[in-house]
Subunit: 337 residues, 2 copies
DNA sequence: GACCGCTGTCGAAGCGCTTCGAAAAAGGGT
DNA sequence: ACCCTTTTTCGAAGCGCTTCGACAGCGGTC
């Protein structure tokens, strides 16, 4: 193993000089720097992470806590995780992967051991039990998701409320008067994951302003469940012509059942989805959708965290504005015959 | 910050005693152990990861390299990653998340810096460029996937060749004589990712033995592409009655197009999928499938790695035997009218 | 020419832990 | 009571790095 001392010897300088070349924290003459850099390359030197962490009290690692469960948004989670990992690298950080399994203990462990300099938490619940700990330890953290109380923590999220409003506005503009929302699995609501409730709230209040009627049905499971859900919706509100889907795994079942029932999209009913771009484009009908900006969320979270670690002042809550892209699944509401 | 020395003082013992209580590498009398443990809890002590890594030359971190691209098997990747993270924790390891982006450099960096004790590589290509490095450094590593040359590395994978064979056997047993394989995107083959080619080889050679005819068509993209692919297949081989799908994102398009063409599953055509259990169960037709045992792969990989790190002798190549579950998408071949 | 303020470099201390050899304590036989 | 073995505990060295204060040169100033 090549150590800093080896490099110093090879370059004919002291260890501290090599260290300063590496960190740039003191000025080093061009000649010396050059010589040291050449030695580093010649010997294939890599600074020892542990020693560095010990001496500098900084690990250059960001912990990312992903949910263990896979009942929702797996591709979104994956995309965020990959974006976090790549962005972190460009800032010189590595990413430690924690699963929600350990829960608050993981926060304690990572903070206490100095394993990571900061944390990114996903799958944040409205009253997340990890928050008090985070506030108490003063560990720099960014949440992806928006808890009820954002005091002392930084958050990044899609503006779900605006997303819901945007969907219903789009349908209203096309003349739809009765809208059905196919929501997440009941478990998601029970857990008080913020985004599901917020979307619904935003959608409902905008619908009220615009004079639309809304029914909301959670969904989970398979095609049969979807068929049942749809019959119920059309029984209760026969004049339903607009659909909002917030659950990417519900997209294909919904389209399939509609097709099977002989309802044409977008002639008879319009569908607006909240889902990753890719899902919208690859669906059997190209979907009018509000994209879930997974990458942007991951990138932003890392950006904020690095800002904090560098002592910069950062925003407390970053809400990403939703953007609706019109594709082939929405159109003018059918005129009642 | 609470250090080991603080604990020692609090418990009235020396630092080394505390260390031995923690590591269990020397016997400590029950009384002393008790006292030390009480102090640890009282002070809320967590060993400093950096110091530990420096002194012991072990970071207790496993690096997991996941592919950057998301053109395939995202849920499988995610499931493996989560399984790796959870299993690693039960062995006292944390997981560092690397993306393929850095490529071989990541291997060099992580090995050189002592950031991780070992690596798990996913998305292994037949002639993976990270392999020579791994062999050279002697870094303990486990590949998820099977390269051409497995010398000096440990691999875990589903036995794809047997998987292909199993699928075609099942169809043969049901009386199908002409089988079509809907394969991965062409890019996957061009990259020489082992599993795609192996499945196909296994399937083809078994088919030859059983006297079945096979056509193979890569697929990628949307429903239109699937419709085109199917017409071509039925034009060229009108007597095709068996389908094998190896691409989970192709499942719904295939079923949808078949339905649209008025071909009943399983009465007119049978479909066998290679995909995660969940996809098979939630599809619009419950699919006869060979499950991709993502969790098992992740768990096994960690198990092997921990074994290596503990100096145990481990297998070099662990091939997981495929299991075919019969569901509603396959049945007796229709008799030619 | 003595003095000043630079810039560039060095030496040493110390980060918190593990680990080795050795000392101290505790039994066990005679 | 003694010696010998075994168990338990301690002290000190050292892992590879960062960082602080100090020092050596250097050109410029009065």
């Amino acid at each position: 193993m090549v150590t800093l001392a080896d490099v110093a010897r090879h370059a004919g300088v002291s260890a501290s000089t090599v260290s300063y070349v590496l960190s740039g924290k003191r000025s080093i003459s061009a000649g010396t720097r050059e010589r040291v850099e050449r030695s580093i390359r010649a010997l294939g030197y890599h600074p020892n992470a542990g020693a560095r962490a010990l001496a500098s009290n900084r690990s250059n690692i960001i912990a990312l806590m992903i949910p263990l469960r896979t009942d929702m948004y797996v591709p979104v989670m994956m995309e965020i995780a990959v974006a976090v990992a790549t962005t972190a690298r460009t800032h010189g950080y590595d990413v430690l992967l924690l699963t929600g399994e350990e829960g608050p203990d993981a926060v304690r462990r990572v903070t206490g051991s100095g394993l990571a300099d900061a944390m990114i938490l996903m799958d944040v619940e409205l009253e997340d039990e990890r928050l008090p700990l985070l506030r108490a330890t003063g560990q720099p953290a960014v949440l992806i998701g928006l808890p009820t109380d954002t005091a002392g923590v930084t958050c990044v999220d899609l503006d779900w409320s605006a997303t819901g409003a945007l969907c219903v506005e789009h349908l209203a503009k096309l003349g739809h008067r009765d809208v059905a929302v196919i929501g997440e699995a009941p478990a998601v609501y029970e857990r008080h994951t913020g985004f599901a409730e917020r979307t619904l709230d935003g959608l409902r209040s905008r619908a009220r302003e615009l004079g639309l009627r809304v029914v909301h049905r959670p969904w989970e499971g398979g095609y049969d469940a979807m068929a049942a859900t749809l019959s119920r919706i059309f029984d209760e509100r026969p004049s339903t012509t607009g659909f909002v889907v917030q659950n990417e795994s519900a997209v294909e079942p919904l389209l399939a059942v509609l097709r099977q029932q002989g309802r044409a999209v977008p002639e008879d009913v319009s569908v607006v989805a909240v889902c990753p771009e890719q899902v919208a484009v690859q669906a059997s009908v190209r979907l009018t959708s509000v994209a879930v900006p997974a990458q942007e969320m991951g990138r932003t979270a890392v950006g904020l965290l690095v800002g904090k670690l560098d002592g910069r002042e950062t925003d407390d809550v970053v809400l990403i504005a939703p953007e609706l892209t019109v594709r082939a699944s929405s159109g003018t509401a059918p005129t009642i015959p």
